[in-house]
């Protein structure tokens, strides 16, 4: 019955619905991309190369993280829709005043929510499919995966999972709104715009003390982190996290108390233009929102930390594997009896892997023990190794095996302990790998053996890369979007509450430019105060994290910093500009 009114309402309040709509659509899009990871070229390549186990474990981890992300998104959407209903409480009150029943108004609200939500879901899924596809091409290039023909793939399970997850969230939203609508009295709905924000007076001394205590706690937490490092997860670790969070909370609470007084101290600053108005506006906000500032600061820290660490780690892992696996194939065989002679190339050739056919440079030799019990490589074999791959790699091999070059003039006193076969593929590496694996699996009757191939190492590496990078970036983006969206909504709702004040300013003769500037300054403070502290946290955290990474490899600070900065600027900066624009529009309309 009210479907027409509902659709019209959505159209009319499109500007209000805009932020909500974008948030939901973006959430859906991210959720789908994450869940549709199995359609990614990289993962398909992995599973097509006998690494199904790796793929399965990745998918399991994603499943678990999805639950976590679902919770974050549910809170975000609940918050966003709460903002919408609050904005429109007067309108809803008018419906009640006109004699509509609460049931009907609730139904109207449900219809509107459902309409917006379903549209956002559809748009989000479409975006998700496109983004997933683009990401697939991009990452395939990033991970150096040979690309077969471009295939357009849609993951049906991911679609279903995303749809179910968000329908669940929407149901939650509807239940919450219906309950709150039934609880509220009509007079509260009609007067919602007039309620004053409470201004808690707090003594200056207490605020400064709180701020200093907050700083001290942060200092202690930083010191613990830098001294203890990041990886020791014990009771003290949680104490450290607790101290950091509490310190952040006290920091903002203290700051909210004395920032205003501090500025009031300087008459030149305070009595200049709109400064006193801006500071009062901000103060009225910060008194009630220092808690949310703390949460946002910590969320931003997670976003920055996760993104930067995952990118840094990714580059480190790659370099490590390159060093650990220099040959295309490395086969080691322990003969059943020490001293037994073996011809590995012949044995392999017999089983279908002819080194002369598949390989470029190759070498087969024993590692021996001489008469004095020294373990090493005969000088002639070392010379062959050196001529095939150069001194550097030959030396690296010796170091890796803990072997020495044994002088050749020891007669026949060598006992062969291990037989090695080293080779680099030539021509078709895929075919060579298959032939080698087939040959090696048939090698059982020769004693114990182990082998490693560059391709297998690459697969492992790629699995780790996908895991680290995808999950890191994904979580980073989710946290970033969540915190930016909460801030945007908070600022927009504050702008809506302040509409009357800006109207007064307009009457007093404050030009539109100055009013806009005042809005921008407020939004800027709200966005960049938490960010500033989060950045300081992140720098300290990254210093600790890099120390760990530096133990196993060189840290790529440049790349991780660049990626993180790019993400921050794109997502956070985008939300910041959109919020400035939205607030200005809202206030311009009212003045």
């Amino acid at each position: 019955m009210f479907s027409k009114l509902a659709v019209k309402n959505v159209g009319r309040s499109f500007r209000d619905y805009g932020v909500y709509f974008l948030t939901v659509a973006f959430g859906v899009c991210l959720f789908y991309v994450f869940n549709a990871l199995e359609t990614q070229t990289v993962l398909q390549y992995l599973s097509g190369n006998q690494r199904q186990d790796l793929v399965d474990s990745i998918m399991r981890l994603i499943g678990m993280l999805s639950v976590f992300v679902w919770v974050v998104l549910a809170f975000l959407i609940l918050y966003a829709s709460g903002f919408l209903v609050r904005r429109r409480s007067r309108e809803l009150g008018t419906y009640l005043l006109l004699g509509m029943e609460r049931r009907q108004v609730a139904g109207l609200l449900l219809a509107e929510t459902a309409f917006t939500a379903l549209t956002a879901l559809a748009v989000g899924l479409a975006l998700g499919v496109v983004l997933s596809q683009a990401l697939s091409v991009f990452t395939a290039g990033l991970f150096a995966v040979p690309q077969t023909a471009f295939r357009f793939s849609v993951s049906v399970p991911a679609l279903v999972r995303t749809a179910l997850a968000f329908v669940g969230i929407f149901l939650l939203v509807m239940v919450c709104h219906t309950l709150s609508l039934f609880r509220k009295r009509l007079i509260d709905l009609l007067r919602a715009n007039r309620t004053n924000q409470e201004l808690k007076a707090r003594s200056l001394g207490a605020s400064v003390a709180l701020f200093l205590v907050g700083c001290a706690l942060l200092g202690v937490a930083y010191a613990m982190l830098l001294i203890r490092g990041m990886l020791r997860v014990d009771a003290l670790f949680w104490v450290m996290i607790g101290l950091g969070s509490l310190g952040t909370l006290l920091f903002f609470r203290g700051l909210s108390g004395f920032l205003l007084r501090l500025c009031q101290g300087s008459k030149k600053l305070y009595y200049k233009g709109l400064n006193l108005f801006i500071l009062r506006q901000f103060n009225a906000g910060i008194n009630t929102t220092y808690r949310s500032m703390t949460v946002i600061c910590l969320m931003l820290l997670l976003a920055i930390g996760i993104t930067a660490t995952s990118v840094g780690l990714n580059n480190t892992v790659e370099r490590m594997t390159e060093e650990a696996q220099p040959w295309s194939v490395e086969l080691t065989v322990w003969p059943e009896e020490e001293g037994q002679a073996m011809d590995l190339p012949a044995a392999l050739a017999e089983r279908g892997f002819d080194p002369d056919r598949w390989c470029g440079p190759w070498a087969a030799f024993p590692l021996c023990r001489d008469s004095q019990g020294e373990f090493g490589l005969r000088e002639a074999d070392y010379a062959a190794l050196e001529s095939a791959w150069g001194t550097e790699r030959a030396q690296a091999f010796l170091k890796h095996q803990g072997a020495e070059v044994l002088p050749n003039d020891d007669g026949g006193a060598y006992t062969a302990v291990l037989w090695h076969f080293l080779a680099d593929y030539a021509g078709d590496p895929q075919g060579a790998e298959e032939a080698f694996l087939a040959a090696v699996s048939d090698l059982t009757n020769t004693g114990g053996y182990s082998y490693s191939t560059k391709q297998a190492a690459w697969m492992d590496l790629m699995g780790t890369k996908v895991l680290v990078l995808f999950i890191g970036l994904y979580l980073g983006v989710v946290f970033l979007v969540a915190s930016a969206a909460v801030l945007a909504l908070q600022q927009l709702s504050q702008a809506a509450d302040s509409a009357g004040r800006y109207q007064i300013l307009s009457r007093l003769g404050v030009s539109e430019r100055d009013r806009g500037r005042s809005v921008d300054v407020q939004v800027f403070l709200a966005f960049f105060l938490p960010l500033a502290l989060a950045l300081i946290h992140a720098v300290v955290g990254m210093t600790a994290a890099n120390e760990i990474i530096a133990q196993v490899g060189r840290v790529d600070v440049g790349a991780s910093g660049a990626v993180t900065a790019l993400l921050l600027v794109a997502v956070y900066g985008g939300y910041f500009l959109a919020t400035c624009w939205g607030s200005r529009r809202m206030l311009r309309a009212s003045a």
């Binding site: 004053n196 008459k267 305070y270 009595y271 108005f277 103060n283 009457r507 003769g509 404050v510 539109e512």
Partner: protein, 254 residues
């Protein structure tokens, strides 16, 4: 005497097709130091007239000159400058900023004009003393009574020493005692600072504080009343007579 405000042939029409003439060819002039009232029944166009003079509304015809400057064609930026430098406002719903203390509300009018920071405090305290709100300067609007709020708004309007103070039903939301106090202060501003005040009201008692009253009906000037040397009580009676005539005419129509 200097002419502060000169309104000529002012029109403000609403709607297309069947046009409503909210203000219909009104002429009005106010001289420096005058305290002028505009009266009329609901819908007579008095608030529309005031809004046009206050540059909140745009007239559809005629001219408004403040201190010789034509203000009907001003651009938004020039309008804002004009408002903050030449006009002071007192409205029925007082329009104080709820996040600011009384002191800051008054100070804001100065700071947005770029008054040097060193002078702000002195000017605010002086004006507050004149309006007898010196003891509630550190309160927020919702901690003050309606009368105190209105006098704070009046202080904000006068602190910049504007050419013209515009008041729209300033006593509309006040009880009689608070009204009297506010109007006494208006009178003091008028006599001591030679402030020029233009006030819209539908209340005869409030209007009796004025020097001259313009009666509007259906958007046009119905009549004018000068106080001259009359006592306020006598002036009040004269006003009541005109109000009765205004009402009487209407009942004839019915």
């Amino acid at each position: 005497m200097d002419q502060i405000l000169e309104v000529k042939g002012l029109c403000r029409d609403y709607g297309k097709g069947s046009i409503t003439h909210a203000v219909d060819h009104v002429d009005l002039s106010v001289e420096k130091g005058e305290f002028v009232g505009i009266m009329g029944p609901s819908g007579s166009g008095k608030t529309t007239l005031l809004n046009c003079i206050a540059t909140i509304d745009r007239p559809t015809g005629g001219s408004i000159r403040v201190e010789g400057q034509e203000i009907t064609g001003l651009k938004p930026k020039a309008l804002a400058k004009f408002r903050r430098e030449r006009l002071g406002f007192v409205f029925q719903d007082c329009n104080l900023l709820d996040t600011l203390t009384a002191f800051e509300n008054i100070a804001l009018a100065l700071t947005i004009r770029g008054t040097p920071a060193g002078q702000v405090e002195g000017l605010v305290r002086e004006t507050a003393g004149l309006l007898e709100i010196g003891d509630c300067l550190n309160k927020y609007p919702y901690q003050m009574s309606g009368g105190q709020q209105q006098r704070t708004a009046a202080a904000r309007a006068i602190v910049t020493r504007p050419a013209l103070i515009l008041a729209d039903e300033p006593t509309g939301a006040l009880d009689s005692k608070a009204s009297r106090l506010l109007l006494d202060r208006f009178e003091a501003l008028n006599t001591q600072l030679a402030a020029t005040i233009l006030m819209v009201t539908h209340d005869a008692f409030t209007a009796s504080y004025c020097h001259r009253i313009l009666f509007l009906r259906d958007g046009a000037v119905f009549t004018q009343l000068e106080r001259g040397t009359l006592s306020r009580r006598d002036f009040f009676r004269r006003i009541m007579d005109v109000v009765a005539t205004l009402g009487g005419d209407q009942s004839d129509v019915l």
